[in-house]
């Protein structure tokens, strides 16, 4: 398959030449997706933990909703944020559309349900194991929440990675709210889509290979960190 071989060569060439446009695009992709992931973890983990630990009206509905929204199509998330941030939308006065921040918001909304739903599962499993012991020590659900998040940290690593993986790979949401503007909102995935539009299939594939390599190295670093942490924190 010559286009695939060509793609490999082009990927290698792009990396070796340390193309500054490429560096900019990779940097933006990482900044946007890591930012969205950090925010989603910050908000999603407590939401998931609360859904796991507390009994309140609408809890079951929330759990079902979070589980269902894990499959939220990126285009829909993007369109939703677009309509909010558009000059004719409720938050249009902020002028955030077609900015990196808009992309962070869209990806945040996209992966929040993933982080929250999977965190709920992790915390629920830990609560099942810890509940009697923690209650015996005098810790109710409120005090248990941070404890369980901390004790579930190794599983939550994977949860966060799932969110990051979806964010870095999606194109539908960032395309709509970012606009794929050169040097402003052009990410790896929107560049790939653009090169496919141009019929530059080998170049698009080369960028795809770089994106995969990027995702692998981010995941690899997290796993290495997790491994080290596990040796100190135990299992």
């Amino acid at each position: 398959m010559s286009p695939l071989v060509e793609a490999l060569w082009q990927a290698a060439a792009l990396i070796l030449h340390a193309d500054s446009d490429l560096a900019e695009i990779v940097g933006l992709s990482l900044a946007v997706s890591l930012g969205a992931t950090a925010l989603a973890a910050l908000v999603g983990m407590p939401i998931g933990a609360m859904a796991a630990l507390f009994r309140f009206p609408g809890r079951r509905a929330l759990v079902v909703l979070l589980d269902a929204l894990m499959g939220l199509p990126p285009v829909v998330a993007g369109l939703f944020v677009y309509l909010i941030l558009s000059r004719s939308g409720p938050l249009g006065f902020l002028g955030l559309l077609y900015s990196p921040l808009a992309m962070v918001i869209a990806q945040f909304i996209l992966i929040l349900p993933i982080v929250a739903a999977l965190s709920r599962q992790v915390v629920e499993d830990h609560w099942r194991e810890y509940e009697e012991q923690l209650r015996s020590l005098g810790a109710g659900p409120g005090r248990a929440l941070p404890t369980l998040l901390w004790d579930g940290r190794f599983s939550l690593f994977t949860v966060v990675l799932a969110g990051f993986g979806r964010a870095i790979a999606e194109v539908g949401a960032v395309m709509i709210v970012g606009g794929n503007i050169a040097h402003v909102t052009r990410t790896m995935t929107t560049t790939i889509a653009l090169e496919v539009n141009k019929g530059q299939l080998a170049l698009a594939m080369a960028l795809g290979i770089i994106l995969i390599a990027l995702a692998v190295s981010v995941n690899g670093s997290v796993h290495a960190a997790k491994h080290v942490a596990q040796r100190w924190g135990g299992q």
């Binding site: 194991e129 810890y130 009697e132 012991q133 015996s136 005090r143 004790d151 135990g234 299992q235």
Partner: protein, 243 residues
Amino acid sequence: MHGPQPILPLELREVVLALGGRRLIDGISCRFAAGLKTVIIGPNGAGKSLFLRLCHGLIRPTAGEIVWHGAAGRDPASAQAMVFQRPVMLRRSAVANIEYALSLQGLGRRLRRERVAEVLARTGLSEIADRPARVLSGGEQQKLALARAWALRPQVLFLDEPTSSLDPGASHAIEEIVRTLHAEGTRIIMTTHDLGQARRLADEVVFLHHGRIVEHAPAPAFFDGPASPLAAAFLRGELLWRE
């Protein structure tokens, strides 16, 4: 050393626990005063673990009352501790597990350090203090669970089959710690399915069957001549598979 106001005696009045229409605890009334080591025995399914959990407040009874006479309106929970059959350790060091329990009671940092060092030394765990709790052996984890309970300086300690998954050496160590705790004034209420352990530790015995107390007697009397045919059959090692 356990605070000025004792929470004992503990009294259960006509306590019932029903789940899905079955009365798992079927009208228990009894009283535990300060001082003794009580061992609860009975065949599997008799309700031993549920009985402990009801006393400790982990489960609410369907009917009846559980009264700590000494508590006089205070929350009796902080004066009790429980050690479970399978120790649940947090994913942190042995020391941090004990510190966590103490911080829940609102103890200051200095006092926590002192208590932790003391109980680790007395349970022989000082050398593994900084190891992650979850990589310790089963026996070490159970010792750590006891140390954690001990550090809380409970007036009453509940133990639910604390040695059921341990080898004889570890079981012996656990029993020694229980004896020490008792010698220092902690009321012991525990379950076991090991009749030998019951003989070694019990001052008094509660024999449970089908969620009811069949006998509640001083240990020597119970083991020498049980009053009920059920208890006698149980002590002979028969399976009590029907009434």
